[in-house]
Symmetry: none
Subunit: 209 residues, 4 copies
């Protein structure tokens, strides 16, 4: 009973694959979710997450405010999902050598950070996560997810004997990714291929035996 009310009251955005109850009544408008999330990101980019008004999002999405609140419990929840959509994980290819793998991964990372959804959204994500435990956890998940390919690269490097086995994985990953975050968020220095090369030049000798 409670579950039904719960479900009917609020969003289904939890990857339920099969909700076989046929759901009487008019089904939810098909493209609305997409339109709302898109509008959310658009508005956020224009006026910042601060200054972002639900009425504006609703109008932009061609949707009523009630429709939004039928699907997300709060402005935070909506923004959260919009952010999650905005950033999708990197995946790493196996090019045969640590150097090439790292170069590929870091170039990819640099490119994404330089502009695009993640670039626009990351600062807001971070700020929000300070006072929102739920977002903090999702952000942690995301970060872990993003670290995974890098860990895999290093793992393969160790197996191939290209990387020293006595180093802490976390510290290594931090050493590679940290400078990107730092430049992006604080120094504003360019995130280009030259930087990737410099960084690789600096760090690669360290991790090779």
């Amino acid at each position: 009973m409670a579950a039904t009310a719960e479900r009917s009251r609020r969003s289904d955005h939890n990857g339920d694959v099969t909700d076989d109850a046929p759901r009487r009544g008019r089904p939810r408008s098909a493209g609305a979710d997409e339109a709302i999330l898109t509008a959310t990101l658009d508005v956020a980019r224009e006026v910042g997450f601060r200054g972002m008004a639900m009425d504006v999002i609703a109008e932009r999405a061609g949707v009523s405010k009630a429709t939004i609140y039928r699907r997300w419990a709060s402005k935070e929840a909506l923004v959260l999902e919009a952010l999650r959509r905005a950033i999708n994980p990197l995946d790493a290819v196996d090019l045969g050598s640590v150097r090439d793998d790292l170069a590929s991964y870091l170039r990819n990372l640099a490119e994404r950070m330089a502009s695009g959804n993640m670039a626009d959204v990351l600062p807001h994500l971070i700020e929000w996560s300070v006072h929102d435990r739920q977002l903090r956890e999702q952000l942690d998940d995301y970060v872990a997810h993003r670290r995974a390919p890098l860990v895999a690269i290093l793992q393969r490097g160790i197996e191939r004997g290209e990387v020293r086995a006595d180093l802490d994985f976390d510290t290594m990953v931090d050493a590679f990714v940290g400078p990107f975050i730092y430049r992006k968020l604080l120094t504003g220095s360019p995130l280009d291929d030259a930087f990737v090369d410099d960084l690789l030049g600096l760090l690669l000798p360290t991790i090779t035996p």
Copy 2:
């Protein structure tokens, strides 16, 4: 230049040494600035910068809202200055060797980042700077200022022959500081002495000849 008009209209919070105009009329209440800024940070810590109400700050500071708006042009401007006050730069000592200097500097940095004003405030600063050019510039200034001691350490190291002269300063600094920022803002991993030691162990060999 624009700043002059700005200053005469609103606050004098720019460390001007000599304003020799006789300043007619009742002078601004002495401790008010301090009280307001303190109240701002207090309230921000309690309820977040979001959820922070000007009326509450005013009451807390024992001051009227009008007095606040006489000194700062907006809520943003007030928070901005409160944030700037909350973080003051690190300075580096000369302990005789690059290793010791770096260790000292990074431990200091780790300590500050782990908790305290800067820790609380940095995420907000970053987020805000996305849509506020003025804050962005102030943040850049601050960052540059904070990088200075690290550059000095490396410079001394080169002069002593402890550090390779063929490396890019910026990249080196990024490699040292980036991981701290990354951990603080995204991974949430601890910023302790062990991490400092790991990082130094990883990076020091790279920069020594």
Copy 3:
């Protein structure tokens, strides 16, 4: 013409009989207008139109301030309508003779002016109308409306041969109504039956052939 846009933006307080547009969205709260106007007059009577605070009216009416401003464009507009409601026109009966008709009308007028809504409100109405063209016009309308029955009485008198046909209607009406206004607003002399009789005694002979 401008009035149409005006009306669609703000209140419908103009007695439109047929607004056939289907009126989408949640309809305006039914009794709110009444509650707000009543509260307005109540508060005004207690603390004067000066000293009257919108928040107080809102609270008294059990309504939010936004609801008030959704229906009236300003404090002035609200008060204006409250005032208009406070005074409703006299109507005249036909008692068969000019003397009786006039006596009835003037006694009615005297009674209303002596106390009640109109008495409380007229001074404010007048003052406000000096700098508010819109109110000035509404006041003119109201005045014209109030003069109508008196004109009708005199008209009937002429038809019956009880009243001279060579006199200016306006001047006659002014001569009858003016003394009431004068006493009410400036001299503070009583508006009682004796005064009505005196005035009739003075003026009736003049207008009869």
Copy 4:
């Protein structure tokens, strides 16, 4: 002691002929009273008594707000005096016949009411007097003072045998003055010589034997 404090604290606008105490310190600025009162009326005429700001008056008078409040206890007190200055009584001449005297008096009254200080100020005076007993009394005084010449005219008329002796003075005066007030404040009809003639034509026969 109390008297001294009283005097030094607040205004001297009570016709003190000789204040022989030498009054240490800087003397009060000479033309300030005049300048302030003039500015008050000017501003009032421009934006209404509502909307009239003390700061504006001060600036207009070339005077500080403190100076105003040193001389008048409140905004009301200042306006009150400004109003009193704005209206000065009519006086009637003796032209030999009631008809001529009345015509002269009423033409004078019409002229004053049509425009000028009294015309601008009367509505405000009336409104204010509703909630201000002191002003109400001053207004009554003024009204009585203005009625006096009219009473004198009628008195002379009775003595000459031009006016019936059995009529109530007050009612007669009301019948003559009331229509002016009514037109001025409510109908907005013109106050010209034609109106004076009409009114005289209507009322004179009534009061003659």
